[in-house]
């Protein structure tokens, strides 16, 4: 299999041996689950349960919110709803979000599930997509984009390949590796169902070559169904959807585009497994496999966790932190693209792929020095940008300059920050710039809207004044004045299919 060259990237110290050989264990049910309503890209889900209501495992807790992009939330176990409150989000901002507090009863009783689709290969793509949507499945690689919407991209795009992403290029994380080794049949089945829903027969599975076991097992499991397993070079960020498609097919996704525009749909292997559960068993997405690892964690695990489990419960299950002290950094996700958690009392959500407790030596953080223009960031950038000059613009608050340099094409992979000998937080600068650019854009749009409204009002007032001056036309002021503008439909937030690294 020919692998097409992809520019940039870095070689990382993977440290996957900490958890690579550990079988997936199942998390014992905690007493309390905190299930946020916003675990996906798009609008938050809207609760359909009330305080005190008993719920069964798999029961709908919150329906998909308004707008095209959203996903429903289901109960991870049986118990009763304590309350729906604003609770700390697993997000670096330290902000809160609407969260359903669920007291578990320990019985773990399934509620009534939708009937399995007996033969998914005779079902219509629409039925499958609808089931995937109602099961609340989102991209489990970390992007948390509703999967059904991706399946619906079959209309409007010519798709000829389903590419399963098993690259798992982030250090430490081994959950996809374990899922492929232990649940190969489920992954294969889910992939076949998705391919059927996309009306394509070509399924490929890309795995980084540092996972020989997974490659071997998946090759065997996929052989009867013509699923081709491709070992891709071990180089971060190989798991970025756009770069993986380029490496496997040689097709380059245009800027601002989706991989679907070059005929390929990328799904994470964990997502394929979730689709299998939803179609074959009728089960919604209520738990996921994550990796708990890091040098400051007493015991690393690959673990199947009910969504809403608090990180503190998870840490307790893993024997706490080494030396009983708080680690230097607690990260959700991988160390490259993951982010710090605002505390331990935050829930695991659909997009969480790992919880890492890192020591200061592992993070190797140093104060930033001056840029020596070594160009290491330029060589490392998989997007072909000049990180050093973008950062120079951003340091001087010139967002327009940074945008000209292409900061909006940054995929936030962090390769530049990783390689910078001066430890300049380049990726942080770019996230700041992109956040500012988005905020400026929002402000600009609001001002434009208000400006049009104001001008319309001015024109109307002038018309009224003119009508008063001319008594022949009897226009009552009130008839002209009260024109309640209809509330415009909420613009759906444009979700991005980001790198599911």
């Amino acid at each position: 299999m020919k692998i097409f060259p992809v520019a940039g990237g870095v070689h990382l110290d993977y440290r996957k041996e900490l958890t690579r050989d550990l079988e997936i264990v199942v998390m014992p049910l905690p007493r309390m689950l905190c299930v946020p309503l916003h675990q996906h890209v798009g609008t938050p889900a809207e609760p359909v349960v009330v305080s005190g209501q008993p719920v069964k495992k798999g029961q709908l807790l919150a329906a998909a919110g308004p707008g095209a992009v959203s996903a429903p939330i289901h109960s991870p176990t049986s118990g009763h709803i304590v309350d729906i409150v604003n609770y700390l989000a697993p997000h670096p901002s330290g902000l809160t979000q609407k969260t359903i507090l669920l007291r578990t009863d320990g019985k773990d009783q399934w509620g009534e599930l939708p009937a399995p689709i007996a033969d998914p290969f005779t079902a219509t793509p629409r039925e499958i997509a609808a089931r995937v949507a109602s099961a609340g499945i989102v991209g489990l690689g970390g992007a948390a984009f509703p999967s059904a919407l991706k399946l619906n991209l079959r209309t409007g795009h010519t798709l000829d390949m389903l590419l399963l992403n098993g690259a798992e290029c982030e250090p430490y994380l081994t959950c996809d590796d374990r899922v492929m080794q232990e649940c190969a049949a489920e992954v294969v089945n889910g992939a076949r169902i998705m391919a059927h829903a996309l009306s394509t027969s070509c399924i490929k599975l890309a795995i980084e070559e540092n996972k020989p076991q997974a490659i071997k097992i998946m090759t065997e499991a996929g052989k009867p169904f013509g699923i081709q397993v491709i070992g891709v070079p071990v180089r971060y960020p190989m798991g970025s959807a756009h770069h993986l498609v380029k490496a496997v097919t040689g097709r380059e996704t245009p800027a601002h585009g989706r991989t679907a525009s070059v005929g390929v749909l990328v799904h994470n292997v964990g997502t394929a497994r979730a689709v299998d559960h939803a179609i074959r068993l009728g089960r919604p997405l209520i738990s996921r496999v994550i990796t708990v690892s890091g040098g400051a964690m007493n015991r690393g695990v690959n673990i199947d966790v009910p969504l809403g489990t608090l990180v503190s419960d998870l840490v307790a299950f893993c024997g706490g932190f080494k030396n009983g002290t708080m680690p230097y950094r607690i990260i959700s996700g991988g160390p490259m693209m993951g982010h710090m958690l605002p505390g331990l009392d935050v829930p695991v959500v659909k997009g969480t792929c790992g919880i890492l407790a890192l020591t200061a030596e592992e993070t190797n953080e140093q104060p930033a020095g001056p840029c020596i223009r070594c160009g290491a960031c330029v060589t490392a950038c998989p997007s072909g940008l000049l990180p050093l000059s973008m950062a120079a613009y951003i340091i001087h608050e010139d967002m327009a300059g940074a945008a000209r340099e292409g900061v909006e094409d940054c995929i936030s992979c962090g390769s530049c920050s990783y390689i910078c000998p001066s430890h300049i937080p380049l990726m942080h600068y770019f996230e700041y710039a992109n956040g500012r650019l988005r905020a400026l854009d929002r402000e600009r749009r609001k001002h434009e809207k208000i400006k049009t409204l104001t001008e319309a009002r001015q024109a109307r007032l002038e018309r009224i004044a003119a009508a008063r001056r001319e008594p022949r036309h009897t226009v009552t002021p009130s008839a002209v004045m009260v024109t309640p503008p209809a509330t415009p439909p909420a613009t759906p937030p444009t979700g991005e299919i980001k790198a599911s690294a």
Binding site: E397, I424, E431, T483
Partner: protein
């Protein structure tokens, strides 16, 4: 010597003539800057800058009497554009956006007098006479005019909370070591 004086004089005369002609034929009527600045301002005539409306603010800005940061609803976005247009450099890294506020009508106190709706420059308040009014938050730019005019104090100004969705990273605080 004479050649040098002569050639310099000739150059001076030619350039002077070109400038003279240019000033006559390329002259600009009025002050285009004011119009361009007005275009950049929100245009909601809220008066929070201390001037009657955006037109007067634009005049003051063109004269250099008003600071580019004086437009509160415009925030950083407008300040940056004004600064670029006027060619002034401002450090906005410390500039805190005026926290966005929107009006909110307490329906228990509203008597449906329509004064606020008449005052609102962006038609963000809807409602008929003797009926409850309500604010379309998306259209409200927080000028506080309705808040001030309401006879029953039914209107309060609410902060627009930052959500996880709107939040973005701050600029890295690096202790640069040179």
């Amino acid at each position: 010597m004479l050649l040098a004086i002569g050639s310099l004089a000739a150059i001076g005369a030619t350039l002077g003539a070109i400038l003279g002609v240019a000033s006559r034929y390329l002259a600009v009527e009025g002050n285009p800057l004011e119009a361009e600045l007005l275009e950049l301002l929100p245009g909601s005539q809220c008066g929070q800058c201390g001037y009657v409306g955006c037109g007067q603010a634009a005049v003051a800005l063109a004269k250099g009497e008003a600071a580019v940061t004086s437009c509160r609803p415009g925030g950083k976005a407008v300040a940056e554009k004004l600064a670029k247009k006027l060619g002034v450099t401002i450090d906005l890294s410390q500039h805190q956006d005026a926290v966005q506020q929107v009006a909110f009508i307490n329906e228990d106190l509203c008597i449906g007098c329509l004064r606020c709706a008449n005052e609102c420059s962006s038609d963000a308040i809807v409602g008929g006479p003797k009926q409850l009014h309500t604010v379309i938050a998306d259209h409200c730019h927080g000028c506080r005019h309705c808040f001030e005019i309401c006879p029953t104090e039914a209107i309060t100004m609410h902060l627009v909370p930052i959500t996880v969705h709107d939040w973005h990273w701050h600029k890295p605080k690096t202790t640069r070591r040179h």
